[in-house]
């Protein structure tokens, strides 16, 4: 594939992403463009880099195997001003806590969230569902069949994560989940929390 074709391919992918508005699965791009996945990924990478490097008004975000265009955050205020929209409210500390627990222990139940937080989280869970940051994903096969929750694509986009693997490492979480001592005898980590 020569440079011209590459450029055209990149532009066609840009067109697809623009027209979609929503996240587009890479398989769909491959199919429409008749490209293999590595080539499609390379083109998407190039497109995203170009947006960032040239400080364009749009950005390319990846959420696991899907890609989406969004407006560049540095122009957020201008854009909100143009459409007279208010900035979305920041998540409250409780909401952030529930979201963090679900993000790290997903799929998990509200009972587990309650257990860690020591307080009832039903209101906050409802709020996070409403903001499409978490979603239901089946039920746990135990008496009462409690609902399971996981984070959404919207969560990844909102927190600018390409995938869940990019979540900050949990402090003191080692591979075998065992407790470690530092040279000064200080505890470095505790037993891994049960999933």
């Amino acid at each position: 594939m020569d440079t011209m074709e590459m450029k055209d391919m990149e532009s066609a992918i840009e067109g697809i992403l623009f027209a979609s508005g929503e996240p587009v699965a890479i398989d769909r791009i491959c199919l429409a463009m008749e490209l293999d996945k590595p080539t499609a990924e390379a083109l998407l990478q190039k497109l995203g880099d170009c947006y960032a490097y040239e400080r364009r008004g749009v950005r390319l975000v990846r959420m696991e195997d899907s890609y989406q265009l969004c407006s560049a955050p540095e122009y957020g205020e201008r854009i909100r001003k143009a459409f007279e929209i208010r900035k979305m409210a920041k998540l409250s500390q409780p909401a952030l806590e529930v979201l963090t627990i679900i993000a790290y222990y997903q799929p998990t139940t509200r009972a587990y969230v309650d257990q860690i937080r020591g307080v009832d989280s039903s209101y906050t869970v409802g709020l996070l569902l409403e903001r499409h940051l978490i979603e239901e994903c089946g039920r746990l096969q135990v008496p009462g069949r409690p609902r399971l929750y996981r984070t959404t694509q919207n969560f990844l986009r909102s927190f600018h994560l390409n995938s869940l693997e990019e979540l900050p490492e949990m402090p003191g979480l080692e591979a075998d989940g065992q407790l470690r001592l530092g040279d000064d005898g200080a505890v470095l980590d505790m037993e891994e929390p049960r999933a």
Binding site: C70, E77, F159, H160, P168, M170, G182, G185, M190, P193
Partner: protein, 260 residues
């Protein structure tokens, strides 16, 4: 690592918050010992833990008694449980003491999970700023889900044929050349007859149905004419009106010149 020094004497200061790594209480120490021995909370081997617990306490040369009392109380507690268990395997009281200890340890550990979560929210919280500053857009109007893409192997065709042959064991297939006589040597193709009828109606206007058959030279031509009329009616190119004896045929002047 084998003989770490525990600054239990600093526990008091820990409460004010400057040496976070130290043990804040006896449960921390027990949790640490369980972790060091790779033992789950639910399977505490009380003798082992008690021995190690006491060994750590002995290492302390000097202790702030006010704080150490907590650790010593716990030591006494562990010893109590151990004694009861030594006396009887079925000691319910010792068991409930043990359950209480396990519950406290779990509670303690949960507290740790919560602390970790709180630490994490401090890192994750600011990451959410991205989402508050970006906007996504609605899709352009677009038809979706109309094309089916198939991915088949040419061999699938061979398999399909084999399947058919296996199934149709009894049924012999008429080769297509069996139609040759009819198709290729038909003296009066329906298509041509249809063209002729349309031309006749366009030029001469409305006519009687029976007149269409006048001049036919053979049975085959009669059949072709009749088929053509049926086809033309079906395609709504011509109209039949009237009854059995006075049936007329009419054609729209704007009708196509051929059947297809």
């Amino acid at each position: 690592m084998d003989n770490p020094i525990f600054k239990l004497e600093k526990v008091v200061q820990t409460r004010t918050g400057d040496t976070l790594g130290d043990f804040e209480g006896p449960l921390d120490l027990i949790l640490f010992l369980l972790g060091k021995n790779k033992i789950a909370i639910s399977d505490i081997p009380i003798s082992l833990i008690l021995e190690q617990y006491l060994a750590y306490l002995e290492q302390r040369q000097q202790m702030d008694l006010e704080v150490a009392s907590e650790f010593i109380t716990m030591a006494a507690h562990l010893m109590y449980i151990k004694t009861r268990m030594l006396l009887s395997l079925e000691d319910e009281e010792a068991q409930s003491e043990m359950d209480a200890l396990i519950a406290s340890l779990e509670e303690r550990q949960r507290g740790d999970s919560y602390l970790k979560i709180k630490t994490l929210t401090e890192r994750i919280g600011p990451m959410g700023e991205f989402g508050r500053d970006i906007v996504t857009r609605d899709p352009e109007p677009m038809e979706r889900g109309k094309i089916y893409e198939y991915d088949q192997e040419p061999g699938d065709l061979v398999v399909a044929l084999q399947e058919m042959l296996d199934r149709n064991h009894q049924t012999a297939v008429t080769p297509i050349h069996a139609f040759d006589e009819i198709v290729k040597h038909e003296p009066y193709p329906v298509e041509n007859k249809a063209k002729e009828i349309i031309r006749r109606l366009k030029e001469g206007g409305i006519t009687r149905f029976l007149l269409l058959f006048r001049g036919s030279r053979s049975r085959s031509e009669l059949v072709a004419t009749f088929m053509a009329v049926l086809e033309l009616c079906k395609a709504r190119v011509i109209r039949l009106a009237g009854g059995e004896t006075d049936c007329t045929v009419d054609c729209d002047p704007a009708a196509p010149d051929t059947l297809s």
